[in-house]
């Protein structure tokens, strides 16, 4: 009989279901994983080091490029950290807008996560449906910030500008006739808020569609149930957060437990899993999308009723309006100083953790009073979850590794920074 040896393979970095540039060195005994050693850093851009050489505002767009599937929730802790260092107040309307867009991007993230996870384990159709909804969300981001993905919309002291009164519309061209354009523009006749409200009224139906496709799907359950079980004790030891922690049955959500912005005024529920396997985490993510939808609806009704400023009037932090700047010497100086030298942040250090779509996203900042941060540390949830890959994968089959990568919901911009 031939001698049977362990076999080591490279999973990635060009593997389509490695979700980016993960090089996973797997030691196999037959088809069973004995050891999984993720090699990361192929997308390391030194974001934290770059931030030390940029002013506080110049560093903001880097945040979008970390987790490039959920952009605005990344910016959230960054601006919150600067605001806490500065000790400034943010207009309440800006807080509602930020929370609304944080929840919109949470849906954006979970749509990608569930869609591609299903694609990886063999349900090809899911990704087509979820990406259809992602298009609508990209249109919202484009309307409000001018960019489909990397918005740079949250600013220290508020948001860049107020919500627009009109939506960009489709135009007739050789591919789209008048009838098609009319249908496509039906929801875009009003303001951005009307468009978002229309989306939130359609979205629960979409969620039902996804559930029809997946929740009771035999193949989906065979691939997910019982794969990657994490006990609540291990989840805490391994530093899990977000859906990975809640999937294990620990009821912990920073939006509820340590509320920031206006989350304490909003009504929503925290889903938790029971078994702590991949299927429970999928269910948690599904329910989180529905809850995010609820939060967005509450924000819309508040924002409709309460107009007001969206960025602080402290011009040492936020620029004055263009109109004022052109008319007043003092405002011109403010504008010039802010965009050349940048703001000065009083010395000190803060750690702000927020509930990112993937888990706790933390920003630890040290300022020494300069116009640039002294040190920024970005704590991303996926980094911590991927570190547990070895423990999760041990004893599972090679094909389950794909399920695990999907359930961890890794995005490499976030892991490698």
């Amino acid at each position: 009989m031939a001698e049977i040896k362990n076999y080591t393979i490279n999973f990635g970095p060009q593997h389509p279901s490695a979700h980016g540039v993960l090089r996973l060195v797997l030691e196999l005994d037959g088809e069973v994983v004995v050891r999984a050693d993720p090699h990361i850093g192929l997308l390391h851009r030194g974001t934290e080091k770059l931030m030390e050489t940029r002013t506080w505002i110049q560093s903001l767009p880097y945040m979008d490029r970390l987790d490039y599937t959920s952009m605005l929730v990344n910016e959230h802790p960054f601006v919150l950290a600067i605001e806490r260092l500065l000790g400034i107040e943010v207009p309440i309307r800006a807080q509602y807008i930020r929370v609304m867009f944080a929840e919109i991007t949470r849906i954006l993230n979970h749509l990608l996560s569930i869609g591609t996870h299903a694609l990886d384990v063999g349900a090809m159709a899911m990704v087509l449906y979820t990406f259809r909804e992602r298009e609508d969300i990209f249109d919202m981001l484009e309307a409000v910030s001018g960019a489909r993905m990397h918005g740079a919309y949250f600013r220290p002291g508020g948001v860049y500008r107020d919500l627009p009164d009109s939506m960009p519309k489709y135009e007739i061209n050789k591919f789209k006739n008048a009838q098609t354009v009319k249908e496509l523009n039906a929801a875009r006749e009003g303001s951005l808020l009307d468009f978002i409200e229309d989306f939130t009224s359609r979205f629960p139906v979409y969620c039902d569609e996804y559930e029809t496709l997946l929740t009771d799907n035999r193949i989906w359950k065979q691939r997910l149930v019982g794969v990657g079980v994490v006990s609540p004790e291990r989840a805490l030891q391994l530093g899990f957060s977000g859906p990975m922690l809640r999937g294990s049955g620990v009821e912990w959500d920073l939006r509820k437990k340590q509320p920031y912005e206006v989350y304490d005024r909003l009504d929503f529920d925290i889903p938790v899993g029971v078994k702590g396997d991949s299927y429970d985490r999928y269910l948690v993510r599904m329910e989180e999308m529905r809850q995010a939808n609820r939060i967005i609806r509450q924000c819309i009704s508040w924002l409709r009723a309460n107009p007001g400023p969206v960025i602080t009037d402290n011009h040492k932090v936020a620029p004055p309006s263009r109109e004022k700047m052109k008319g007043s010497m003092e405002e011109l100086i403010h504008h010039f100083k802010l965009f050349s030298e940048g703001m000065h942040v009083p010395p000190g250090e803060v750690y702000v953790g927020t509930e990112h779509a993937k888990g706790e996203f933390g920003v630890y900042m040290i300022s020494d009073g300069a116009n640039k941060p002294y040190r920024v540390k970005l704590r991303s949830a996926a980094f911590q979850h991927l570190a547990a890959m070895d423990e999760l994968a041990k004893g599972h089959m090679l094909a389950d590794v794909v399920t695990l990568i999907g359930t961890i919901d890794v995005v490499f911009g976030d892991v490698d920074r």
Binding site: R54, K316, E349, Y351, A370, N371
Partner: protein, 208 residues
Amino acid sequence: MSAKLDRLCQNLRDVLGERIESLVVDRGEVALEVAAADYLAVATTLRDHPDLRFEQAMDLCGVDYASYGAVAFPEADQIGARRFAAVTQLLSLTHNWRLRLRVFATDNDFPVLDSLMDVWNGVNWFEREAFDLYGIMFSGHNDLRRILTDYGFIGHPFRKDFPIFGYVEMRYDPELRRVVYQPVTIEPRENTPRIVREENYGKVGDRG
């Protein structure tokens, strides 16, 4: 300061006593500093003591304090005795409070700290990262390899004396038909100079 932070500080003083080097409450956050010798024991106490119960280590990172408050990297004799620190952000789910634990390595040339891997298994990759980027050694860590930089990378890129452009760049050599390293060809430049102003510049964040 809220009553909750008061209680946390009181608990810390009661439990740790002499081992506290400094305990600062700033902007609603509690920062604790301990000596490198007490580090591991304090961490274990922080996790296990019923009045503290920090079940989770959310983050651990290295910090290089060499040029703190300065415009450029200081001369060798100007660097303070305490250059490298590891900062851990702890979270207690039971009491719902956070704590920042800082420890300075005693030797600037060869910074060594105890590894917290046995206290919180999750800090594994964070310590690898701090080792990779700052060159802080963690004794007791069972797998201290580089994590973010390239295979065979030389130096610790996040140290303040490491230039932002690095030392080497990569290109494809058509003759050797492989990727080669060569010294960087870009001129270093700084678009916005680093300026440290007097305190309370513009009265922003004046908590007077």
